[in-house]
């Protein structure tokens, strides 16, 4: 994986102009990961739609407290999953997020881990809700 010393152009773009910031009222799935002691908290909201039998992520939004990398990875994951079938979205790894951002500095790779974890947990939250 590409490890950059400074932030890539893509990271800065997403940081300065983040996509899908905000809360989804009555989300189908939501997850909060990280904690303020570590410096990053990421909250991910998803809304699920159906095309025939296939579930897909209709909407994804985030709220994040954290550094430029935390905000950029949050923004990136929402753009990556939006419109994707659930079965594909859940395969997104932290490496894929970092790569989509043109690499991350080594000490910021945990931000991509956090974003992947948020997605996994938001989907799990949705599954749990629909099971009942």
């Amino acid at each position: 994986m590409k490890i950059s010393q400074f932030y890539s152009k893509k990271v800065l773009q997403h940081f300065y102009h983040p996509k899908n910031v905000g809360e989804i009222k009555n989300p189908d799935g939501v997850a909060t990961v990280g904690n303020p002691v570590c410096g990053d908290v990421l909250q991910l909201f998803i809304k699920i739609g159906k095309k025939g039998n296939k579930e897909f992520i209709k909407e994804a939004k985030f709220l994040t407290l954290g550094c430029a990398a935390a905000l950029a990875t949050s923004s990136m994951i929402t753009t990556m999953v939006k419109g994707k079938p659930l079965s594909e979205a859940e395969k997104i790894t932290n490496q894929a997020i970092a790569e989509a951002l043109g690499g991350l500095p080594k000490n910021k790779l945990h931000c991509s881990v956090l974003a992947a974890e948020a997605l996994e947990k938001a989907i799990a939250n949705y599954r749990q809700k629909t099971k009942k």
Partner: protein, 396 residues
């Protein structure tokens, strides 16, 4: 990279505690020593002697500034090297020496001490600080042992500006030293104090003092170690006979000349520049503290006039710094040396702040060329930036 930043007409540099630009006068003084007077100062021919004379003139300026003898001034590559030499050079001939330092020192001191501990060459105590970031004299006195050989306390903290009680520590050690066999040597890293505080070594009562040129408009890569006559230093960089056989290697002549010029200018303007910078700092503080959920780190009455560090609730420091940078304002979050790590500033934690508070730290450090208009600009853009980040944060 530039392209993605917003348009801006004016840049406001408020990161002088990180580094300063080389001033025009300093650059002018340096420039003949790259080409015209390029000789090796160790050579007795006229080329060498011209360079040697220039170094000795710079040494006189530094000695004059510190109230020291020229034989007590060593030129180094910066404060970090000066600190390494002071610590390692002092303990080398001692059997299991004990060092006392503070928990808020710069990495140059902390890492040097940790290295010595790891090698088993010294025992080290790291003194705590109070809520204003000050070392307490009582704590220091209680920590002294028979084998204590070095007390190393910074003059001004680089992350939040607290002025440590150097004069009082000097007096205490003088009193204690009169009654004991093993002298306790006193080192202070005065890197952040040079421009605005009294740095005369006899007033401070120090045996060793380190400083770095690039914090006061000299170039990066040159610094000084003052060592009081009789301080048993062993050189750490072996080689030639330079710098009284205490720091081998051909002298960095143009940079030494630059440092000499810069310290001369500091001496000339010290009182007025301290007052000027303090006025700007007070204005900045009044403006920034208008933002709800923002507090100043430490007590400004106990701080050096050029540093103001704030804790902003609900916004992360690096994010604030980069958004400010986009608006053409340079600030810093915690110490630049700390930001490569994930732990929040060791200084803020030592002062008793919680990690979640420390992540929201933002440091502004002023310099002689800043103006009131620039401060107005910062006061104007910062609230919007804080608001933007708070709006993006989860409501927990």
């Amino acid at each position: 990279m530039r392209k993605i930043y917003s348009d801006r007409n004016k840049l406001v540099y408020l990161d002088h505690a990180a580094t300063t630009p080389v001033s025009a006068e300093v650059l002018k003084a340096m420039s003949p020593y790259f080409g015209k007077y390029f000789g090796n100062p160790s050579e007795p021919h006229q080329w060498g002697q011209q360079a040697k004379t220039a170094i000795e003139q710079a040494r006189e300026k530094v000695a004059h500034f510190l109230g020291a003898k020229t034989s007590e001034i060593l030129f180094t590559s910066g404060a970090t090297e000066a600190i390494n030499l002071a610590h390692k050079g002092l303990i080398e001939n001692q059997k299991l020496p004990h060092i006392i330092t503070s928990s808020i020192e710069h990495k140059a001191v902390l890492e040097t001490c940790k290295h010595l501990e790891k090698l088993g060459w010294a025992k080290v105590n790291y003194l705590p600080v109070d809520k204003d970031g000050l070392v307490k004299i009582d704590d220091l006195e209680k920590t002294i042992r028979p084998e204590t050989i070095l007390v190393s306390i910074m003059y001004v903290n680089n992350e939040m500006g607290a002025i440590q009680p150097i004069v009082q520590i000097g007096q205490l050690l003088k009193k204690i030293n009169a009654k004991r066999k093993q002298k306790i040597y006193f080192h202070t890293d005065a890197t952040q104090a040079i421009q605005y505080l009294d740095c005369r070594v006899t007033e401070l009562g120090v045996d060793l003092l380190s400083l770095s040129g690039h914090k006061f408009y000299a170039p990066k890569g040159v610094g000084v170690l003052y060592f009081k006559k009789g301080t048993p230093l062993v050189r750490q960089q072996d080689g030639g006979e330079q710098e009284s056989r205490l720091r081998a290697g051909t002298e960095n002549v143009p940079y030494i000349v630059g440092l000499g010029k810069a310290i001369e200018l500091v001496q000339k303007n010290k009182v007025s520049s301290a007052k000027y910078v303090e006025k700007l700092r007070d204005k900045l503080m009044a403006g920034v503290l208008q933002i709800p959920g923002v507090k100043l780190v430490g007590d400004f009455k106990k701080n050096a006039p050029h540093i103001a560090t704030f804790l902003v609730k609900g916004a992360e420091g690096e994010a604030m710094m980069l958004l400010l940078s986009d608006k053409g304002v340079a600030a810093s979050s915690g110490s630049a040396c700390t930001s490569g790590l994930l732990e929040p500033s060791h200084v803020l934690l030592a002062m008793g702040y919680q990690p979640e508070e420390a992540h929201g730290s933002l440091r502004f450090s002023l310099g002689k060329d800043n103006t009131e208009e620039e401060i107005d600009e910062v006061i104007k853009v910062l609230p919007t930036i804080v608001q933007k980040l708070r709006r993006m944060a989860p409501k927990l």
